[in-house]
Point group: C2
Chain length 371, copies 2
């Protein structure tokens, strides 16, 4: 990592050297993926850049065997562009036949942040699940659950919490420190429940032994390592090793980490066109030069420009068009204001459609949760 950069589950800051992270964390760079992966912008552009044991998933896709994609969501703050990274992956895998598991971490929100279960439920439904569905996630072949209430089927609930309790025997305090920095009983228990989230799809009460992949940001790797480590020590179950993929951080508007707790760092999927315009114009960190003359002469730097990155992550799916924007900006032909206009337009077209979908999604999720 470049000097001063920090990447842990509870803090990400500084200039991140992903090459170094790959070495330090012991994850494997992604390469030579099947065509269906390369059709996906996130894989093709190496926004998803590393993995552990992805071969198990590739094999399952190739042989049309069952596999699971597992993710968790912490129901705090607003659903923003950064959250779309994981959701797009869920939708991508769902189309390939994956069963999707989504854990709503209301126990973690309670223990680590003091948020009530009721508040978590409200935020999870209104902010997260409604947007997941609007973005295209189908509720069929999907297990969505609250950590505080695993299932309406007692055998499933018992199996899930039993696993949490048994996993405790195989964990050490040091592993929890790696996940949370400083530990408390509440955080420890949440961490074990999260390990059960990751592993329980393989229990006989759920899918049985099958490949499971967990897409995460690279800062979340300690959670993955904990679950992978424990899963191979517990004697009572034979778990397939969990696979994982790692994506780059989507930068916040200011260039740092996008964070729900910093209102000016993100664009929410419920923001109005006007808010989008204001936020991009006012806060989006620019790779442009200080003056028009200098920009025309020396060109901008798309590699640090947040607006360009947003086009790259989501909003300009056409590689050739993206390349042209890159080159024009770099040469000075395209101004920062022009680049920002392109992005504002793209986001607002997307959000108009998305916000229409939200109304339908609200009804769907309402029905789903009543089951």
């Amino acid at each position: 990592m470049k000097s001063g950069a920090i990447v842990t589950p509870w803090e990400v800051k500084g200039d991140i050297d992903y090459e170094k992270l790959i070495r330090e964390f012991g994850v494997v760079p992604l390469k030579e993926l099947p065509k269906v992966f390369n059709d996906n912008l996130l894989f093709r552009r190496k926004i998803i850049f590393a993995h552990r044991d992805i071969q198990n998933i590739l094999e399952a896709i190739k042989t049309q065997k069952k596999f699971v994609v597992m993710t968790g969501l912490m129901p705090t703050g607003k659903f923003h562009l950064g959250h779309m990274l994981i959701v797009s992956q869920l939708i991508f895998y769902q189309k390939l036949g994956a069963k999707i598991y989504i854990a709503i971490a209301d126990i973690e929100a309670y223990n680590a942040r003091g948020q009530s279960l009721e508040e978590s439920r409200k935020i999870a439904i209104e902010q997260y699940l409604t947007n997941y569905i609007s973005l295209g996630l189908k509720l069929s072949n999907c297990e969505i659950y609250f950590q505080s209430e695993r299932s309406k089927d007692a055998e499933k609930s018992n199996a899930y919490y039993r696993l949490q309790n048994l996993l405790a025997k195989y964990a050490t305090f040091n592993e929890f420190r790696a996940v949370y920095g400083e530990i408390s009983p509440g955080k420890m228990v949440s961490s074990l429940l999260q390990a059960s989230d990751m592993l329980h799809p393989q229990l006989p009460e759920f899918e049985g032994t099958c490949p499971v992949v967990i897409p995460v940001g690279i800062d979340q790797d300690p959670h993955i390592r904990l679950a992978r480590d424990i899963s191979q020590h517990i004697k009572d179950f034979k778990f397939n090793q969990i696979s994982s993929t790692y994506n780059l951080f989507m930068p916040g508007l200011g260039g740092g980490k996008m964070s729900s707790s910093d209102l000016n760092s993100f664009i929410a999927l419920t923001d109005s066109s006007k808010e989008v315009e204001t936020k991009i114009k006012k806060y989006a960190f620019s790779g442009g030069r200080d003056t028009l003359e200098e920009h025309r002469k020396k060109g901008g730097n798309p590699d640090v420009d947040v607006s360009f990155k947003y086009l790259q992550f989501f909003f300009e799916p056409d590689d050739k068009k993206l390349q042209k924007i890159h080159d024009d900006y770099k040469s000075g032909k395209m101004l920062t204001s022009e680049l920002k206009e392109i992005l504002i337009k793209k986001i607002n077209v997307f959000l108009r459609e998305h916000q229409k979908n939200r109304e339908k999604a609200k009804k769907e999720i309402g029905k789903f949760l009543l089951r």
Copy 2:
């Protein structure tokens, strides 16, 4: 405590000064109980000698309100005479109308002792529950469950494990140390599950807010303190403070703590007449003198004599007869061999009847667990 005596949940040794324990632990000596309590040998003879908040239970009995007696059993080793102390109390309270909760601590046996859930299940049924029923516990108005599988009703299971997870926020590492000496993630999690065992009867999914009493040996008080403390800090539920009662230790044959792991320290309820005879004659610590002449002249000491104590704890319910044995032994009129003969006969009469009951109990528990 007398010098060198240790009383913690994981170690009891030395000469125990109960007066000092009462002061140190902050429990309250039991006195002025209603007649129905004094009809019970354990209360009358101050074998159950202290309490916390017993008045809530006395009030419930007086006004014929619902109350719960909660206990846990660790399914290891053989069921012995010492275990009967708690069971007699359950039966006593059950006759007074209490609902009985029995937690089988298979998760704790797994995490703290490495015993498999299957092994725990087998021991719990064959050794513990079968004896509970043979001793007179009725299965109606009784909730018996395994920690690893709380209920066949998902709402109940979710509520029980949810409580375990939420309680974690209100516990500190120091409290766990008081319960276990040294802590590990496995022990911590077991301790939280035990706190949920003690508190969950009051959840709306179970009995709702009502008085709960937990009868324990005084060494188990740190567990009680942990649950009592957390219960008053958690914001999401309004728990009645838990009541508890404390009984003396039933001495092992050698005079120290009766322990399942020391085969010569106890009489099991499945021992044969011959085994009982041999064990009492060979191992029961005697308050007699070294020689017949000396015993006749100076008398024995019933206060340290294990055979006398067993008569006092269970096997001579008639206070006058017990007093006569005491006086005769103390005066030297009764020899150790005679005292031991009385006990051997009493135990064997009891066990013959009990072991007959076991066959019927086995069928009952079989049916009960299939529900």
